[in-house]
């Protein structure tokens, strides 16, 4: 089961839910699949964190485990912990 942790900036899309689970036994999933599933559950969310060409937005960070990744092709294991955070920026 993949556990996904979401930032407060996405509360409007998830009705405040910050943690989601995705049951899977597939070994071939990647981060793009996780984002697609998030979009399926919470329409509009994906475009706010990934741009029109599939790039993670500049002020969004995504982690698989404790590894920050910038590429949606990054593999996600069936028991992975995925976290999306609003990067430290702004003011």
């Amino acid at each position: 089961m993949i556990r996904v942790f979401l930032p407060s900036q996405l509360d409007d899309y998830t009705q405040g839910k910050r943690e989601l689970t995705m049951a899977t036994e597939r070994e071939d999933l990647c981060l793009a699949d996780v984002i697609a599933e998030l979009e399926r559950r919470h329409r509009g969310l994906a475009f706010r964190v990934v741009d029109e060409h599939g790039n993670i937005r500049r002020h969004i960070a995504m982690f698989i485990g404790e590894q920050m990744v910038r590429d949606l092709a990054a593999p996600v294991a069936p028991n992975a912990r995925v976290q999306i955070v609003g990067a430290l920026s702004g003011g």
């Binding site: 706010r48 060409h53 937005r57």
Partner: protein, 379 residues
């Protein structure tokens, strides 16, 4: 007299401010979308219940929200503006939607959006889904027009001032910072530059002595809503007027502003019925370009003769040590007989004048940095 409603977009959300019948008292309602960067918050003259709002964020990607109940509730565009891969292989990404303009009065549900970086988008379903205006975004000369990413504002190059000619729905004008002014007479299929006569001090002079055709930095372009042959624009390099009946070459009317004030600024508005009456808010564009009120003394300048002469209007404003400025979407006029002029400042103050700029009163003091204001007439 009618009640007026001000739609205020700020760096930290949106507010709706309502007047009483004689515009002597105002009620601040909000915030909405608190924390979001609202670059533009507009109404629809074709449907009094419709509002559109550009919503950005310090973290998230750009979006557009639509209200069909005058701002009480909102739904998000299902397909916000997004760039396709361009013919030259460039894959730009919309950073924020900077500008929203409704389509022609005869075309309900048509809207246009201007983005950062520069792009032109159209919706034909009331803002729910957006498509690129490919005649513009994929024009073979587009990358030459717009210059590099450094040729823009400190928070990115922008397409703004989208105008649909009230007399001709196929006649569109847009401005780009940077890039200049362009127009189309075939609803966006083809485009021509409209920058003749406009200075471009930030580039070296051309060796052959000719003018640059594009690459300029217009800050705000307006067309008179009744006499659409009359255009004005506030540029990075001066204040200009153009009467299409007399040709296509801009005249620098800013030369008629006091030299110690200069003719640099962001916004310009025109009287709803008199095309010779305009208001501007000059800022300090000297030295380090502080972009503040010149000498810390804010003032509107008004012309009643198409820019041949200007009078200073600062009654009610602080007389010293006030270092704010007014951005390009932050000045607006109402339709009343005694025209109300409104401006929103970089330090979150909203000012109004109910006598055509002769005297000014504070409407709101402590909003976030104001990015846009629009006036809605409430019958």
């Amino acid at each position: 007299m009618s009640r007026q409603q001000l739609l205020v977009g700020t760096r930290k959300g949106a507010w709706i401010i309502d007047s009483n019948a004689d515009r002597s008292a105002w009620k601040i309602n909000g915030p909405q979308h608190l924390g979001a960067v609202v670059s533009h918050f507009v109404a629809d003259t074709r449907d009094p219940a419709v509002r559109l709002m550009s919503v950005g964020s310090g973290h998230l990607g750009p979006s557009i929200f639509i209200s069909n109940d005058a701002g009480t509730s909102w739904r998000e565009a299902s397909s916000p503006p997004a760039f396709s891969v361009e013919p030259n292989g460039a894959a730009r990404s919309v950073d924020h939607v900077f500008w929203l303009s409704q389509g022609h009065q005869s075309e309900p549900n048509v809207w246009y959006a201007g983005t950062s970086p520069q792009g032109l988008f159209k919706s034909v379903d009331g803002g729910g889904t957006w498509q690129e205006v490919l005649g513009f975004n994929h024009h073979p000369d587009f990358f030459e027009w717009r210059g590099g990413d450094k040729d823009g504002t400190p928070d990115g190059p922008k397409l703004h001032s989208i105008i649909v000619d009230p007399q001709n729905k196929k006649h569109l004008l847009i401005a780009m910072s940077g890039g200049g002014i362009f127009e189309s007479v075939d609803a966006g299929e083809s485009w021509q530059a409209l920058n003749s006569g406009v200075a471009m001090d930030f580039y070296p002079p051309k060796e052959d002595g000719t003018e640059y055709e594009f690459g300029h930095d217009p800050h705000c372009l307006i067309m008179h809503p009744v006499q659409s042959n009359r255009l004005y624009h506030q540029n990075h390099c001066g204040l200009y007027a153009l009467d299409r009946n007399e040709g296509n070459r801009w005249t620098r009317i800013g030369d008629n502003l006091p030299k110690e004030v200069g003719d640099i600024g962001f916004p310009i508005v025109v009287h709803p019925r008199d095309p010779d009456t305009i208001w501007v808010f000059p800022m300090d564009g000297s030295g380090q370009w502080p972009r503040t009120s010149p000498d810390g003394k804010p003032a509107v300048y008004c012309s009643h003769d198409g820019g041949a002469s200007f009078s200073r209007q600062d009654k009610g404003f602080p007389q010293e040590q006030a270092w704010w400025t007014v951005k390009r979407q932050c000045m607006a006029v109402d339709q009343e007989d005694s025209v109300g002029v409104y401006l929103g400042t970089s330090n979150g103050q909203l000012w109004g004048s109910m006598d055509g700029g002769q005297s000014w009163q504070v409407i709101a003091l402590d909003l976030p940095q104001i990015y846009s204001i629009e006036v809605v007439n409430i019958p």
